[in-house]
């Protein structure tokens, strides 16, 4: 999570980085969404992963996976999941659910 761009030194990564680069044709980007029970919990989760060197982004959960409506998720790359789970277990943060996307807009829950 970025921390620059304001007098308070606080600014989210999307401000720093701008839009994500567009995907190459025929090269679907695989990533995981760690669904969290609250925005603050998502921020804690992201902060813990960032401290361990895993790039994250906090975002509002897609409607199709948001459960009771309106939740936040932490996005991580496909290769980061094993490390991320280990780190989260170590710091006592438990994900609510985890989804994987194939880049075509669909999400599939991952059994933990």
């Amino acid at each position: 999570m970025g921390r620059e761009g304001s007098p308070t030194g606080s600014c989210t990564q999307v401000l720093r980085d701008g839009p994500e680069p567009s995907r190459e044709r025929n090269e679907p980007m695989l990533y995981y969404l760690i669904v969290c029970r609250s925005l603050t919990y998502a921020q804690r989760t992201a902060a813990a992963l960032e401290r361990a060197g895993i790039t994250t982004r906090v975002l509002r959960s897609p409607k199709s996976i948001s459960g009771e409506g309106c939740s936040h998720s932490v996005k991580i790359s496909q290769r980061s999941l094993p490390d991320a789970l280990r780190i989260l277990q170590r710091v006592g943060l438990s994900p609510k659910r985890i989804y994987i996307t194939a880049g075509n807009g669909s999400y599939q829950e991952v059994e933990l």
């Binding site: 304001s6 007098p7 609250s38 925005l39 975002l59 309106c70």
Partner: protein, 379 residues
């Protein structure tokens, strides 16, 4: 104007506080209410503020730091959660109306006041012990009297409460940012504090530290679990219905950073030194009655006094005209005045902050000394 009313609100703040609040008005939207940049930037600011407060007050998880409008709001949430009709509540003899009025609004509450003499920490502890041993459902204790600066033995009182499994609510209005406060070590149910006093944030900000699951005082939108018609079960959402005061939170974040950079122990030492000089100087003024602890460790940067022949409000008024901002009267704490025996006369109160100087204190003492010599309102 020499400002000596920081027990009400600190007026001199670090410059970064106003800068951050002003910037936030035009750049930060509503945390949790959108995925766009201004909303996410607001979320980052709110989270940074929770983390900063959690580090300062030793709170295990940042979501246990809840934003409130002020300390009164936080105390109302805590009391609403723990005190029910018929509850037996032990309170210190130095509580503010922010505690006593909500308690009186709940039917059939037995309020047991653990009275003790001013600046007598051992007596305060013993009074709590006796009151708790009669059976209690909840205890409430201010960390520091807002009228007299008396530092109550809140750590020891918390231990008594833990031993008896009585949940404790700490009113940290006068201590947050001015004295060390370890929430985890206290094991308290809640601690409420304003953001605009010793934490140097803007007015309209406050924090409630939660050691247990609270009942919400307000219901409404939280940006989470929107399909449900009950408030979320998790913190901080459970207590934060409606749009946040994000400009205030941005300012409070800078206030918290200032306090942590400066160091609470250093702030406490500086304010104590100023208070001691002020109190001793006041004692030398003929006709003055000063409420000063024998041991400086028993008093914060708040000093109350009276001047013979002067109505306290009239004296506050004259001092205001001479360029000194102090608060006179009962300070919304009639119970504290009753305990100290000053309910009928009230007092004039000086509340110091880290921005006050020895020079300001000396200037104030000279002015008050001249007023005392004349013996009447010269205005």
């Amino acid at each position: 104007m020499i400002y000596l009313d920081s027990a009400a609100t600190t007026l001199q703040k670090p410059a970064s506080v106003a800068r951050a609040a002003a910037w936030a008005i035009n750049h930060l939207a509503s945390p949790g209410r959108g995925g766009h940049r201004p909303a996410m930037a607001a979320a980052d600011t709110a989270f940074a503020c929770r983390e900063e407060a959690a580090a300062l007050f030793h709170v295990s998880e940042p979501e246990r730091v809840v934003f409130t409008f002020n300390a009164t709001h936080g105390l109302n949430i805590a009391l609403h959660t723990l005190v029910k009709p018929g509850s037996r509540v032990v309170i210190s003899g130095y509580e503010h109306n922010a505690v006593t009025r909500p308690l009186h609004a709940i039917p059939d509450v037995e309020i047991r006041v653990a009275r003790s003499p001013l600046f007598d920490r051992a007596a305060a502890l013993e009074a709590f012990r006796q009151a708790l041993d009669q059976g209690a459902d909840v205890a409430v204790c201010t960390h520091v009297s807002n009228v007299f600066g008396f530092i109550l033995p809140v750590e020891e009182i918390a231990a008594l409460c833990r031993d008896r499994a009585v949940p404790l609510i700490v009113d940290a209005s006068q201590s947050a940012g001015c004295l060390p406060l370890d929430f985890e070590a206290l094991g308290a149910a809640f601690a409420a504090m304003p953001g605009h006093k010793g934490l140097y944030g803007p007015q309209g900000t406050g924090l409630l530290l939660c050691g247990m699951e609270p009942d919400p005082l307000l219901a409404g939108g939280t940006g989470s679990e929107s399909r449900l018609q009950s408030m979320p079960a998790f913190l901080p959402d459970r207590l934060e219905a409606g749009t946040h005061n994000i400009a205030g939170i941005a300012g409070l974040l800078e206030g918290l950073r200032f306090v942590r950079r400066r160091g609470v122990e250093n702030i406490a030492a500086q304010e104590s030194l100023l208070a001691r000089r002020l109190g001793e100087g006041l004692r030398e003024i003929p006709g003055s009655q000063v409420f000063l602890a024998q041991d400086p460790m028993d008093q914060s940067g708040v000093v109350s006094f009276q001047l013979e022949g002067w109505d306290c409000e009239a004296l506050g008024e004259v001092l205001g005209k001479r360029g000194f901002a102090l608060r006179a009267g009962l300070h919304c704490a009639p119970l504290a005045h009753e305990t100290a025996g000053t309910l009928e006369q009230g007092t004039v109160r000086a509340g110091l902050s880290v921005f006050n100087t020895h020079r300001e204190v000396e200037q104030f003492l000279r002015t008050l000394g001249r007023l005392a010599e004349r013996g009447e309102d010269p205005a």
